[in-house]
Subunit: 333 residues, 2 copies
């Protein structure tokens, strides 16, 4: 019989449709990217030697010598870094000028080196770049919140093959971020604990959905995962915002996210996916009731009318089975 | 310069990224379905003569003679019509048994007759079937809310070609439905008007985003449309739930939805799309502050990490331009 599960963190219900369930391997997709790419593509603006094709660099690692990671404004930015912030409100229609920052973080000089295949030290530099960009972008007085994310593959919304992440600093705090914080606040007032800390404890004590754990973080499939193999990486120590993570925690995150990406790369044949850092805004530094984490969403299914119409989801993979499958994947080729 | 717009009905912000804007025609997609289908497919469970391949019929129109529209339980139902409703709550993990109703509404006996190409009288019968199914499904004491929707094409989440809609009766009211009602309630308490009635008035008085209008309804691109060509059809007369619409209003809806689907069919080369009826639950009959409507979402773009991470959207089509384009499309071939 199907089961309807509640995600207490996001206030979302999901139908776990076990009758329609598929075996984990069935979510693997034939990958048209494989074997088609080169390490260097002369026309790619993110390949070394083509730095003049992008807007001026805003960050590079390492600072001296050939770059391994570099950031620059998005050439087709969704927001205008030179605009001033003006709000207009007329009855039913309210607008803000599209002032903000939209940057690209190129993760490697190698065109065909997907993130899962970066060496540990290379992966660490990407996470360092995440923090550095997050800090700089949220320093802008017009930026109320920054969203850090990565799109891997066409089904995940990218057309550019060269591995990259993006950061968008918006002049508003997204309503969904506010909503999650409200949920957490009410939980804290009732239960006396951070809702993320409580989730981490609950998942570790149950164990059935845990994929891996280290001293600083745990990776697990949420009890009410909205889509097959949807995965969260949560820090064990309470720290409200991404900026409050210590260097050690970021190193742990780097190791764990790399390992998770490799489980998908080798276990589900390099599926398309989105990663995002979910953090309360920087103004929430020190907050007791909420806590940053990383969300990983492989794009192995499509949302349809039911999801659009109701906001509920139908998941055809049992979270416990998905976790068991991922635990069994070898992360070394 | 880009503009950030607020959708007062859904409490969502969207970045209208005019710098990235494409011409309306560019959203047309090559349609691999076209020319490949037959009016009758021997192996299709929805084609006439194969009625024994589906679970027993729950509704048919007309009641006598060959059917034009018929409904039956979904063979791969996400919810179990024979289950009893049990809630369990243990700390962080809450569940409900997957009790509920999941039916398919076959819109036509003809395998290759997409909804846009139904004759006016055929289209009316589909809308009659919508109401009849909605009424019957929400009569079930376990059903708290029903979601009525249609998936057209693979990008919209369907693999079955034969035109059909679906209805899912869930034992809970989806949190997003509750959320929209809360937004409407606060608006009503402040403004003294239904938020949907106010939106209809505002769009009609502005006019720039209206695609078409008749005595009962208006079809328009929302001021803060989340995705290109996202479209709402709203009734002019205040009526809380879909069940409260009069026969005349449903006839008007049938004419208008048909015309809208034809604008997309002929103007944007038959794109994949989702349609859903957004209505407060049946228990809200008579409510003053909220109001049903129909949402149409063509799947001409993909959501990516920014949308997943922030809940905000980037729309590369200016709503006023999209409406202007659609107004100009001839709906007769």
């Amino acid at each position: 019989m199907p089961e309807i599960r509640y995600n207490i963190v996001t206030r979302e219900w999901v139908i776990i449709a076990t009758e329609r369930a598929r075996r984990p391997e069935e979510f693997a997709q034939a990958n048209p990217r494989r074997g088609k790419t080169e390490a260097y593509v002369a026309t790619c603006p993110f390949c070394p030697g083509n730095e003049h094709l992008t807007p001026p660099e805003t960050m590079r690692l390492p600072e001296e010598g050939p770059w391994h990671v570099r950031a620059m404004p998005n050439k087709f930015a969704a927001l205008d870094a030179n605009a001033s912030l003006v709000r207009r409100g007329t009855g039913m229609r309210r607008t803000i000028t599209g002032a903000g920052i939209h940057e690209v973080i190129v993760e490697t000089p190698l065109h065909d080196r997907t993130m899962a295949l970066l060496e540990p030290r290379e992966f660490e530099r990407v996470i360092e770049a995440y923090r550095s960009c997050y800090e700089r972008v949220t320093d802008d007085p017009r930026v109320a919140h920054a969203t850090l994310f990565k799109n891997h593959g066409e089904r995940a919304g990218t057309s550019l093959e060269h591995p990259h992440s993006q950061i968008v600093g918006t002049p508003i705090i997204p309503p969904r971020v506010r909503e999650r914080m409200e949920i957490a606040l009410r939980f804290y007032d009732e239960a006396g604990h951070c809702i993320i800390c409580s989730t981490v404890e609950d998942e570790l004590s149950d164990g059935a959905r845990v994929v891996e754990e280290n001293s600083d973080l745990v990776a697990f499939i949420p009890f009410a995962a909205l889509t097959p193999f949807h995965l969260w990486i949560m820090p064990k120590r309470h720290t409200a915002t991404f900026l409050e993570a210590t260097d050690g925690e970021l190193e742990s995150l780097s190791r764990m996210l790399r390992s998770v990406l490799r489980r998908f790369h080798f276990g589900l044949e390099n599926p398309d996916y989105n990663v995002s850092v979910r953090t309360p805004p920087r103004e929430a530094n020190g907050l007791k009731y909420y806590h940053w984490y990383v969300s990983f969403v492989p794009r192995v299914t499509r949302t349809a009318g039911f999801e659009i119409g109701s906001g509920m989801f139908i998941n055809t993979a049992l979270p416990e089975k998905s976790a068991e499958f991922l635990r069994g994947v070898k992360t070394e080729a």
